[in-house]
Subunit: 324 residues, 2 copies
């Protein structure tokens, strides 16, 4: 397929074209990277009809089930839904032991959904490598909502916040335990909370968790100006509360557009992405310098016993690389 044909197929929303474009972007081959760069430069600039939403939460909070339920609800509203993942846990051997294939079966059958569970890593560097590019590709294919699932807890949330317009947090009814696991830094990023698995005997605990979360959020500066993060209860498995969550999502969408926050957030995302790309390229260039490589090996051997006194040595290494 020629580059132009790929672009045209992408704009028509063809799924094989989307998959091929994302593969190009993630590829480590210089030839693919050149093609990817050319493709990205032709994507519709400043596409801001879409909404990018991070779905985060501790393992076991039910993120997959929630994303499937929310995705189907949004599709029922006439939207096209993309699902991506950020997974910082394994740069070498990614992939959950139980695999991704059994997840989101109903959603993956819909022709208005595109699911890309685990990015292949390493081509561009950084936790978010390839994810923002995949978002652009899905938006060029006219996807309305991009759900970015974070895998793990910690680094991936921070990375996700730099990619999305809206940051949603899934919690379990026993919030006491959860509040210990969820850090203040993550609560401070949060635009929407959903207390999942609030069914049967968990209902009371979920309502208590809801109040505790509202209290905790009230002590923090809101992640989005003039927006009080709502805390909803429900059960993704039965679909309870999902429509309310979708409604809250659209209220948030309207809010950030009315306040002109979407434009500034996207421009911030772009700057962050560019900075990561440049940093990665600079480090690659630095370590590829033959004198730097030799000198580093020598230094590592010399200091292997006593770790101090290396400030001068590092400065010498930087001079070798030409950095001035």
């Amino acid at each position: 397929m020629t580059d132009d044909a790929l672009l045209a197929a992408l704009k028509r929303g063809e799924r094989t074209a989307i998959a091929r474009a994302i593969t190009l972007v993630e590829s480590a081959s210089p030839e693919h990277q050149r093609k990817a760069d050319a493709l990205l430069s032709q994507l519709m600039p400043g596409h801001q009809r879409s909404l990018r939403v991070a779905i985060t939460g501790v393992p076991g909070a039910g993120k997959s089930t929630f994303i499937e339920a929310l995705g189907l609800a949004l599709i029922a509203q006439g939207k096209k839904v993309g699902v991506l993942a950020i997974d910082p846990s394994s740069p070498l051997t990614g992939g959950a032991i139980l695999g991704d294939k059994t997840r989101m079966v109903a959603l993956s059958r819909s022709e208005n959904a595109f699911i890309r569970p685990s990015p292949s890593r390493g081509a561009l560097g950084g936790v978010t490598a390839g994810t923002l590019e995949a978002i652009w590709i899905l938006e060029a294919a006219c996807y309305d909502v991009i759900l970015v699932e974070t895998v793990g807890v910690g680094q991936s949330e921070i990375a996700a916040r730099a990619l999305v317009d809206c940051f949603a947090l899934l919690m379990l009814p026993n919030a006491g335990d959860d509040l210990q696991g969820i850090k203040r830094g993550i609560m401070e990023q949060t635009d929407l909370v959903f207390v999942n698995k609030a069914e049967g005997e968990n209902r009371t605990a979920a309502e208590r968790a809801r109040l505790e979360l509202l209290q905790a959020l009230a002590c923090l500066r809101p992640a989005t100006a003039e927006w009080t993060a709502p805390v909803l209860c429900g059960a993704a498995k039965t679909g309870d509360g999902i429509d309310d969550f979708a409604a809250a999502l659209w209220r948030f969408d309207a809010h950030i557009r009315a306040q002109n926050l979407l434009v500034s957030r996207r421009s911030e995302q772009m700057r962050h992405w560019l900075r990561e790309r440049v940093s990665h390229a600079a480090l690659k260039k630095f370590w590829a310098h033959p004198d730097v490589a030799t000198q580093f090996a020598d230094l590592a051997t010399r200091i292997s016993g006593a770790p101090g006194g290396i400030a001068q040595e590092i400065a010498a290494l930087l001079r070798l690389s030409g950095l001035s």
Copy 2:
């Protein structure tokens, strides 16, 4: 206190000296960094009597309770125990909502324990910034076992593996759920597993989890040559299984010493630390270049609409910085 007095107090194991030294290492002030560099260069080189152990697991697995129980058990064996944390989740506002002060009360009362819950961040850069330095300081003060607690799941485990001799994973009895949360990459790092909260009605589930984990581990390449990771069950809260875990830890310790793996692992840790330090210094230098800063701001504005076609632009930025 003079630098020499600090070093002497450190070697006598004085806790205020340990705290002061760690603060120096974490400080962003150039003056403190010079002092820290001088101090580190005087620490006993190649101290390899200690054992460095990462304690990882999903939030809610009971890491704090486990570390407290294990720490007290090791102290009862006549050891000195240091506890550090790696927390990648919030570069800006670290700290759990429920705080660290109420944790490990009994352990923190022991004069043979030193607990440093959350590193202050940003001075050196990188997830592990300051942690390896704190390990060296504790070792200079004759601590025998350094327990490194990971906060969050994902990035912090990968970072921890590069710092420690032994990687321990805490699991909950419902391993099916856990296996979904714990990635293959983390299992591949694991030297020891403890299924926590195996008490009362959870015992059967814990035993099943134990067998599933053994099966999963058997499919993977061992993290440490010629070592089959044992999977133990117990309950940190009651102390059940903790002595067995400590015994397994010492078997592991004997194994890596007998196989000469400790030396190679430590030298690998040092090389990794040095590489992080140098990368951080190189990036700092790169971004501090006035022409780079100006040109980057210009580029970010120009491409804010269309993200492609920037390979040439990035190459130009690198040339500006002098990297050759």
